[in-house]
């Protein structure tokens, strides 16, 4: 996450749009980007930022667009070691966890946790 991405989030939320923020939160082996790399997927499918480009990004984008409908933020495991990945030319050979979260104007507050 960098300042450009935060500006993008502010702009999108200010104009009433919802977006998905995809952040690499864990990597194992050789991956195109390290933990902390992030990108924003807009409702129209456009992307700002990068988590490594190519097929990995396309896969995350697809997941992000379905998340916009389902709404439950979650960790998505991206495996760059399997055969399908190799065929697509994702040759880095690592595994990365990407946290996909729906960012909207609403916050998910729940008073039940106020005791923590």
């Amino acid at each position: 996450m960098d300042i450009q991405l935060i500006r993008e989030l502010v702009n999108q939320l200010s104009s009433g749009e919802k977006v998905v923020l995809a952040t690499i939160c864990r990597t194992k082996g050789s991956t195109p980007q390290k933990s902390g790399a992030a990108m924003v997927i807009r409702q129209d499918g456009n992307i700002v930022g990068t988590i490594g480009g190519g097929c990995a990004e396309a896969e995350v984008r697809r997941e992000a667009l379905s998340l916009m409908v389902e709404g439950q933020s979650r960790i998505y495991k991206l495996d760059l070691t399997n055969e399908a990945a190799a065929e697509e030319g994702m040759v880095c050979g690592g595994v990365m966890d990407v946290f996909l979260e729906l960012i909207t104007m609403k916050s998910a507050e729940n008073p039940a946790y106020s005791t923590l």
Binding site: M1, D2, I3, I6, R7, L9, V10, L13, S14, T23, C25, R26, K34, S35, G36, Q72, S73, R74, I75, F99, E101, L102, I103, T104, M105, S107, A108, E109, N110, A112, Y113, S114, L116
Partner: protein, 255 residues
Amino acid sequence: MLDLFKHMLSTFDRGETQALVTTINASPGFKDMIGEKWVINTNDGSIEGGDYARSVVLEAAWESLEIGEPQTIIKDLGNNEWLELFIEPLSPPSELLILGGGHIAKPLVVLGKLAGFFVTVVDDRPSFANSNRFPEADEVICLDFESTINRKKIGPNTYVVIVTRGHRYDSECLKLCVGRPAAYIGMIGSKRRIKIVLESLQDANPEEKLPRIYAPIGLDIGARTPEEIAISIMAEVIMVRRRGNGTSLSILREG
């Protein structure tokens, strides 16, 4: 969420560092916490964002911020309940401060922008310090070096490159910069000339330990042209910023 992101932008505007904490997973009883975010100002320890679990988050954040890299941590809440937190330290954008608007500054500005820096060029000659000459620069300052350096905010995210038109100006700039808490200070020049400058600097401040000065500036890649020298300088700046060591990766593979 909008307020939290706006808060992050204003923290960056003040040049302060912060840490973003996100719940990326949780035990069944705490599933609703997934996506909850907090921002910790690492200068004063204040926390914004989620109202809940603040003390748990602060504790986890301080533990992991010492390491300085983004990481995940599982926080046990007792009764088989837990939160998995992703903690990222975030720094304000780094600034590349180029003193001198000559041949090397031109490609250096372009490289600095490519590497994501806020780029400022300073020269006291109007024909060199203008935005026509440096269309990519964020800021072009036409003023004498002394006034500019004294007025400029130079902090742990500032990378200073001294490439003026003459050794006299170079050493003047260096003297003004050494007392400032810059991330990087590099100065161009021959080994012999630099030895003289550094010695006179140490003689002027015998009590003080000088910070590391990167002079002669740049990594040894055999650079000759202004463009190549700019690449050599930028490579060194990135090395310092990302804590690399400047060795060819193929050598590291064999070692």
